[in-house]
Symmetry: D2
Subunit: 400 residues, 4 copies
Amino acid sequence: MSSPSASTMSFAVPPEDAALAERVLAFVREKVVPYENDPRWGAHGPSDELRIELNDLAREAGVFAPHAPKDCGGRALSHVGQAAVFTAAGYSMLGPIAIHCAAPDEGNISLLDKVTTPEQRERFLKPLATGAMRSCFCMTEPAPGAGSDPSQLKTTARREGNSWVIDGLKWLITGAHGAGFAIIMAKIQGGEGDGRATMFLADMSEPGIRIERTLDSLDCSFTGAHAVVRFDNLRLPADAVLGEVGEGYRYAQVRLAPARLTHCMRWLGSAIRAQEIASRYAATRTAFGKPLGEHEGVSFMLADNAMDIHAAQLAIWHTAWTLDQGHHAGTESSMAKVMCSEAVFRVADRSMQILGGLGTTRDTIVERIFRDVRSFRIYDGPSEVHRWAIGRRIVKAASK
Amino acid sequence: MSSPSASTMSFAVPPEDAALAERVLAFVREKVVPYENDPRWGAHGPSDELRIELNDLAREAGVFAPHAPKDCGGRALSHVGQAAVFTAAGYSMLGPIAIHCAAPDEGNISLLDKVTTPEQRERFLKPLATGAMRSCFCMTEPAPGAGSDPSQLKTTARREGNSWVIDGLKWLITGAHGAGFAIIMAKIQGGEGDGRATMFLADMSEPGIRIERTLDSLDCSFTGAHAVVRFDNLRLPADAVLGEVGEGYRYAQVRLAPARLTHCMRWLGSAIRAQEIASRYAATRTAFGKPLGEHEGVSFMLADNAMDIHAAQLAIWHTAWTLDQGHHAGTESSMAKVMCSEAVFRVADRSMQILGGLGTTRDTIVERIFRDVRSFRIYDGPSEVHRWAIGRRIVKAASK
Amino acid sequence: MSSPSASTMSFAVPPEDAALAERVLAFVREKVVPYENDPRWGAHGPSDELRIELNDLAREAGVFAPHAPKDCGGRALSHVGQAAVFTAAGYSMLGPIAIHCAAPDEGNISLLDKVTTPEQRERFLKPLATGAMRSCFCMTEPAPGAGSDPSQLKTTARREGNSWVIDGLKWLITGAHGAGFAIIMAKIQGGEGDGRATMFLADMSEPGIRIERTLDSLDCSFTGAHAVVRFDNLRLPADAVLGEVGEGYRYAQVRLAPARLTHCMRWLGSAIRAQEIASRYAATRTAFGKPLGEHEGVSFMLADNAMDIHAAQLAIWHTAWTLDQGHHAGTESSMAKVMCSEAVFRVADRSMQILGGLGTTRDTIVERIFRDVRSFRIYDGPSEVHRWAIGRRIVKAASK
Amino acid sequence: MSSPSASTMSFAVPPEDAALAERVLAFVREKVVPYENDPRWGAHGPSDELRIELNDLAREAGVFAPHAPKDCGGRALSHVGQAAVFTAAGYSMLGPIAIHCAAPDEGNISLLDKVTTPEQRERFLKPLATGAMRSCFCMTEPAPGAGSDPSQLKTTARREGNSWVIDGLKWLITGAHGAGFAIIMAKIQGGEGDGRATMFLADMSEPGIRIERTLDSLDCSFTGAHAVVRFDNLRLPADAVLGEVGEGYRYAQVRLAPARLTHCMRWLGSAIRAQEIASRYAATRTAFGKPLGEHEGVSFMLADNAMDIHAAQLAIWHTAWTLDQGHHAGTESSMAKVMCSEAVFRVADRSMQILGGLGTTRDTIVERIFRDVRSFRIYDGPSEVHRWAIGRRIVKAASK
């Protein structure tokens, strides 16, 4: 009941996208789920070897990277199409990795598709979109740098002749280990664009880039983990600028609104999975004379899960539809981010509670879903930052 | 921001319905809101005199009863159309009364449209749908009768020659005072359909019908209040049966799923109103050196209101769309009922909190909205009954 | 189970206070509760006639005003003693009125006991403490005056010869109708204490005091309702100053911390009552084949009520104990205020939900409890102001 | 502010216990906290080597096992004394391990102190209470055995001559790895006590005991992890029965009520720690122009933490006091368990949210606290089982 049926999906989703989503769901259930206990999925995420193996399966099944631009072999899915497909992929935490729609690559593909030069497209976007390499997005800094407030950016880029020289410290850089290249946010120091944030593209093999350490984190589903990355006299050629000098914040916005929505889509799939596991358990495990699911204390939790999943799905569809109409959808995507991240967390939390002791062990995937969705209430803008932005707009509109 | 803009409405609403909704909203803002302090709106609801005055204004404005069947002068709005129009009407608690889409008449019109004989259509539906008379729906009984559990029905109907004789006690009968007729749910005693629930149509002027008392209630928006109604040897002709003998529960279902959704629509309008009032207050009232709305403690509540309104609206649209596709939408309407009734209550509660002392007085309409939406978490199925039903279906599906 | 048993009460309460509380509870159950349907309790609170009748009954029963100072015939109860006695009184919303521990008189007695001159003690405190007259506390002002933020005080007092001349507008002045005197907060304009808040004592019969209107309010338990009061060239003698010039804010604090705690005590009593009514209903009303209380959807609400009542009671006891140790207990009383006001609201809300349709009517007292405790989340400092104050102290302490 | 000050602690705690708690807190802060990043604390809990090192430090500091019986070198702390001391120990998750009051040993010491024979006391209790060995408690079984419902016990014990033969499968057996002995719950099969639950004591070195696997779990603070343990033809001598045959459930109750309360105490200490870390971060990390803690969105969370900690502490003290009075305190300890486990989870969750990205990493202890307290909402009776028990008693009492 909680999973999107074909008929209700057509509320918003074109039939061809719904059909693709069905194929992705079948692929994930049959081919990907069996890998969930693969030892190559460790505390710091699935290994690249595992990722590549899953990518090959997805290619075989004809479901690899349907969101990629057409010149990169994809279908350039609409946002509504992504809603259908990425939710299906999210049924397993390895699903997005398999079809290559996981963060941060998916968001990077989307950004590069919009702002690269033809040369950058060939060198960075194409290998990324086809799965030949991974990438990372280097924006977040430890205190007192840019965390929730991007204006506190401390990493600098200064011009020296034909080069840019970048210095700074980034952390919580998802996927850094094994990434082929990085998108780096830095503040121009001196000269044109002085003081303005700018994005750069850099091979991770550059000698000025050093992964200082890998963070042990609550979540565990990202290939390449989260790392501390130092730029120490990193020298890049003049054409390493992504798009235009000084447009870093604007591009960050271009990237973030859709990227946070695709997070919602994938985690919605995991919430549907958790609910499915909890429902099945409630239907079979007995206590006090009847199946757990006949205790209202349990069935009400399942009902609340269903409503949370429903609201999250509707908010995603609506925002996706609004983006597809060409709107910026800033408020809609902020609302969807808060609503979904908090809803899927509640779903995971209740599912764990229903599973009882079993739920706290890795014997079901719910334990890992719980950990990962908890982090989602923080990354891509913590709930508080979005609430602040939504509230501010309301007050501003009411002040007129 | 919290109110549905034209562009987002088109996510689901046909342009002609969106346009009608805009006209209804303008009518309510300009013509109806000024009546909110009319002394004819008392603790037991607006008087019939006030209702009739408002109906005339609506007729003048061309917005009266657009949901009525076409042969009764209406447009027979689709469910999605109702979602747009009734939400607009709900902007004032007097709006639904003005355009004649308030409960219980709106649900009764819908039911009668589906199951009356041609004679009943002329005698009951037409005067009801055109606003010539009001009606009430007599189902709920005090303990130990039918409350949340309709199977506990105690009111009886037995056949005597060509007559039906009905005895029983009903309560919480909304709109009983001043109603022209009643739909009565009773259990057949003896003969054909023995033990089965059946609906009857009866003029309220029948000598066997007595309004025992008017209940003092938390809510205050229903014309004709809530009453205790006794049937004491009420004799009705054989053709007083609505539809077929023994089909009472089925008709109750036919009535309830859409009727609970139209409640959601109307109360969503009130939630939007409460948010508008709270937002304006937050933008102007100062405390501790700045407008209230610049305190996150307040602006976060406005943001949460916006998200609750958003989720409620999406759930309504989705269920309305599903009903329009011809589906029964039992689970969808249960979910929408719980989600909306709880969301609009939270919105009213937060709006009151933002308004502070002012919010607890009748100086704004929020105080009355708060009271009425509290009751909505109980009538048309308390949240617990819906959660139980939703949960049971999930467990049943998972047991297969 | 939810009501404080003798044994657990002794966790903190001295035996003589516990015994008095038992007598008060018995008095309220037997003598006061029957008055709950008295028509003299209207929308604007119980009438003075009803109050006086109840006071007489309390005197007869030997439970009148045990908190009053000893020279006024009371026992000068400790805070812990008040916790026991006022909670017992709160079992009926008329109980505090009967034993004369209702707001604002109880807080005014406490304040006057601490800061009056001997003359003021005779003229104002004694008649107040013995129930010969009522009083009101005039602090809150409509926008843009002093609401949550007392520093926005707009009412002024200026010296003219031997007189003080006061001008300003107050609202939400509880008990103004029928009060014998008022405590007025005003800001000194010119001269000694210029710009500083000061309290004054004034007979309500002064020609410069005018009750402009009575507010219709959600709550309904205060004798004398809530009014808008205007001071228009109100001339008071020099000795009308309560305590010292310029000490108004300090006295407000002296009054507020204990006064908000006694609100908690009284409303805790009402929460216990609501829980008792809901529990009894759940034990007897059936639905779906068994008593409501055997449905976990209901019994979990009763359990949550019990835990909310427990936490509220413990927080009250602890703060009362801390006050009795001679501490200011600012943070403790802020925490107790938020915890209790929100807990008793949840209890009332759940109790209403359990009662279903019945709960939304005045057929039980729960409907009125619900309305009054909602307001308590706002008066004596809205939750947000207390959270802000608590949070600020934590951050300040952590900054060291 | 959130941590228990000396003065407020004396609300209930005797000075000598308060003084000991202060010494424990100082010991934990100075000696234990530095071990939190010791690599011997892995995903399956701290190693025994680390535990022994910490025990030695505690002995040196004179704070080892003050709850142990006097003949085992302890002080036989009262429940109120435990509340003070164990909360202090919980400041670090390694604190309870250091002073040897961690689960399941602490509860096993308490149980054995009450029901062993003198021989069992020498052989099992003394080495356990002095830290010479650890123990485990084998009750929980995988589906369809005894989980929340102990009556579903599947492990059997049958008499063969002078021996007991035990067969069955247990899981989630905390501390099994490295334990010296086990307390085993089994159902007598045939003969005296047929069908009745009975407890047995067994060396973990018995050939009939096999640890099948270690569970990967969300929590990570228990020495010896959680394991699956199989009893396969486990033969024990006749005197291996703990206490009396057939009294297993009664002893489980004897053990559980205090044991769940000591969990509350320890985790309260961790909640205080989390709040301290979050407060300090909020006071220093800036965003949007000021310290995080000056944003109400953050400071309100700190205030809510303070109130949750306060309520949890009061509920613990009250239950401890009630136990010390010689009462069974079944309802009180159920309420305390639900209130504390849910409160400390919310505190950990909010603290993580305040810390943002940092909070999701192991760079602070909050990440591990979050994981462990989540599990506490499940073990020792999930919230739902306690709510059910509390609610049932309320309904039963109201039925009279």
